[in-house]
Point group: D3
Chain length 241, copies 6
């Protein structure tokens, strides 16, 4: 699905930076719309979700095709997506930005976790959200929504390019979520973005310390004063960054 | 107001199931829009709100009819609703889906609680939400909103059929809220829906255990493989469900 | 900027009342739209934010004027606002009610705090919200948003009259935030509103106690029964209010 | 229904002024929200719709109560509203600001016209709008909408106070529509508002002529220069206004 | 693509009925969401657009994949859709309900017309709308929008199931548009829906005539009085319907 | 206000091209958000509006500052903007994207026309829209809106950078409107954009003719086949373009 599998060291780097920093690194390359808009973690986990995207596309439900009996079909795309999402991947659902009905519930999301997925994101809402919040696997949505997804959505395609929260998501793109939000890194850029973000994070951590100690942001953030670069070089040595 | 008063055993059943399960049971009967959209608990209580609906309808406020002095009228519908909502009932407010101003504040909601109401729901917002969240009675709204309700709303009718969060609510309908959301069960269906939901919950609990233990959802959820029904029968015995 | 500096005793009074009570006091004077709509605290602090407004206006970003290099300009209005916001003031940002991109992040907001600001409000969203939430200074926004503000906004004006969450904000107006929401008091009214709100709060506290003890709201809230005013007078003595 | 029936001379006055002028006259009395927001004429008639409001309230549809067979009930409120709306009245529908489904279609609206209604307004949409547009009776809505109203709405109440396009509408209020929009005048104010609007219109017509002839608006609109009042007095004589 | 090609006689029937009537016929079969919401004809043509759906799916644009040079690719899905849409078909575009940028412009739509398409629908907006309005082929959109579609959309799939204006659209479904709006008939139902709609239209035309002549709608619409069915039978003979 | 006055020949060029073509020319330079979103002409004039922007900024109205008497102030910014907008300029109003109340009415807009303005744009709505539509000067808005602008807006700044329909507008930028929509060209780019757009228009006119005559768009639009460039060269000679 992608020629750019996620390397363990890239994953480790992406676990150590914020979505905000990644957004800026992407912005430098002209990519402005990679943040998945208006989703939030069901629970703050204090660690990042990182993994390649495995996608599910919903379309508007037509009533005659979306009776509960549909779920008896072992090939129903929603069920199949949960059972085939590769280990370490993030299941990203295009729920057409509507939380009127659920994108999935706790049984499916638990199954996804047991199968080894890295996380799940929908631009709709989860049912049983109070339970999904307690799972060990990160999950992101717009808001809790109890009606079954059949009410408005039909799962139609697995692992095709989709939109999620107005962001473009291609299968294999690297999805990163922190306690604030979620962003999508094009697969071919993941490595360089991860490296750059680690560098940026080092400087941001340094700058934050300086600011906490009373420094002005002018000349420091960004580093337009030479002395700040010197200080930073020392800080890196001292802090082993 | 209704020929279908809420039986204690039905209430007990509805306290033991999730809104998501109820939504599916209603869906089976062709009722797709009974969830009150875009409301959330002010605080997660870890238990369900269950009670018949007692309703209050707001209309847009006309300034000359909505000065603060209006509240001096002992028959002001908002005040009267709080003082006449029967014990065990849920006060449901049609605030025209706007949280621009408050639907009510902590003094009124505390009074409602003291009077024995089962809960309160508005598709607008509460003022003093930080205090209402701490009350022992569940409350649901869209978001905190501090301006007095007179700013945009006039309380006009008590206990008439209303819309709340785009759901139809008839006086006497059974309102159930959990830590995720709120749903409205037509009064005449409450008993059968409650029974069915308890059955469904038993299976869902069983299925979740199986999934946690590594089972695939295919053939299990829903139960299209005979063996899962057999296992479930055993599980019920073992677990006394 | 204003002929009505915030007196310490007024500040103290405003720290002891709720935004809801202030909204009603303003409503009595015909001011209905002073609440900043659809913002919330990043963390509930259990105390009020109070301070005169210092404003920042954003306009839609034009790409050629909003490359990252812009931040190297020491006079960039966003940076300058953070470095010049007077001690004790609240920085209020007109982010055009969009949280598509960030209004600011943790380094700038930390600097603002270190410089002695009383708080910060945007009708957009903050990046690094998880960190800003932990700061000792109150912050209010719509939702976390990770993309850099350059993505959609250009900081264009400092300390001009603005709109924030559809409320009018003039430099020097007194901004008060509690655990629910934020309101803007015209500078020339702050003193009288603060005094009146303290009086109203005393009565509300009394009324809430009465309600908790079983009293009806009719005749009590508002106080249309003479006996309640008598009781209140006694309560004030007993409680030293 | 109202103690303030519409007098023929008031009606005549209201036919000769614009909704904009009426909005300003109401504004002077503190009434800011009487315009029905976001509705438009199906066709520009070049004349005003004027009449007392006769109202119909919709609530969200529950599927089991809203099958097509419901229309066979001669007392179905939508049908009944059409058959009982008094001559010269305007049927105003609270369609919950949704044009997802229709508020009514051409057969009902034609019947309303034949029965002598002065017009019809919904904050939803009409089906068969292309035909209704050609009728001799003015009609206002948000946009054409073809699905039957049962899809989302149940007609529940006739001639109760409602909201329409966020404006408060009481039965008997005077509804005026022109080629731009629609406004609601509280019944007890209709006479004085009509008189004042006629006066204002005279001055506006005079001012427009002056402006077309090259006059500055400063001192003319509003008339703060004495000479303009003198000129206006002459103009009234000359033009018999 | 479909086992249910559109028969000439079905097409003729669908050209002679309104979208409103079709919506009701679908409603009777439990299909409530087949109307494409919030689109309108660029120009009222006074005749129906009828044809099987040929679909184009847009996803959010990623800047590096959506430079103008992309259009030089002869296989670009937008261009290809225009060049491969079969004669007599309606090109239906899923533009993610956004008219921020264009779905297509006059050169492409003219080409579509020259190639024999029956019409075009987008839930976004067309550029050069003033020119497309003058073409002989019907076109429907939300509003004119001048920016190139690359600004927000990437054409990604041809002739897959899509959503358009929240309606489900499968390739081969029959799309019908009149001067008000557009609806989607599942391919396998087109024939029976067309027949039923012709019958319904006959009765509606009869009922409208009766209403114009002064008849009440009670007992007439729907026909619950026997005499109206008798009159209708005569009317059909007289009018050859 | 700008170092880039609009040259007569640039104006002439901009009168001869469409907003869509200008949008593409700006897109090539990385400017994606220059179209003023969701505004439309009050009447299609069949010719372009072209002129430098003169801006007016509205902020939310505070009731005590926005009584009708304010208009008696000869320096009221709305009045002053109308009386000082330079000849040939387009008055662009930032009405905070709300048409709840009017941005201006026919007397002011007529005065603007008499004073020689090139046009007027608001992202709100005009009152007396039916009259403004008939004026000889182009006007663009969202929808007709009758309430006086004081209802929600206070005019606060003249000729500062603003947002209008989410587009950045700097005083002196060149504003172009056609029968579809409006776009803003940064002043320093106007000349080169105008020249390029004229060239593009020539090719588009040629391509449209080819398409009308049966040509495929592949290789023609854009011109990736050499032969089309040859044909175009001939066409230019023949057509004197």
């Amino acid at each position: 699905m992608t020629d750019h599998p996620l390397k363990p060291e890239t994953k480790a780097r992406l676990e150590a930076v914020s979505v905000a920093t990644l957004a800026t690194a992407l912005y430098k390359r002209g990519l402005r719309n990679q943040a998945i808009q208006d989703v939030r973690p069901l629970a703050q986990k204090g660690r990042n979700m990182v993994g390649p995207a495995f996608t599910l596309r919903y379309m508007p439900a037509r009533e005659d095709r979306n009776q509960l009996a549909e779920f008896r079909n072992p090939d129903h795309p929603q069920r199949k997506a949960v059972e085939t999402c590769p280990q370490g991947h993030v299941l990203v659902m295009d729920s057409r930005k509507s939380a009127y009905a659920a994108s999935a519930g706790d049984i499916l999301i638990t199954r996804l976790m047991v199968r080894g997925a890295a996380g799940v994101v929908t631009d709709g809402g989860f049912r049983d959200a109070m339970n999904i919040a307690k799972l060990d696997m990160p999950a992101y949505h717009n808001r809790p929504s109890s009606p079954t997804n059949l009410t408005i959505n039909e799962a139609i395609d697995i692992n095709v390019p989709i939109g999620c929260g107005d962001a473009p998501v291609f299968p294999g793109d690297i999805v990163v979520g922190d306690d604030d939000s979620v962003i999508v890194i094009p697969a071919h850029l993941a490595e360089e973005i991860a490296e750059e973000a680690v560098e940026m994070t080092a400087y941001e951590d340094f700058a934050l310390e300086q600011v906490q100690a009373g420094a002005s942001i002018i000349g420091l953030y960004p580093a337009t004063r030479e002395e700040n670069l010197t200080k930073f070089a020392e800080w890196r040595k001292t802090n082993n960054r």
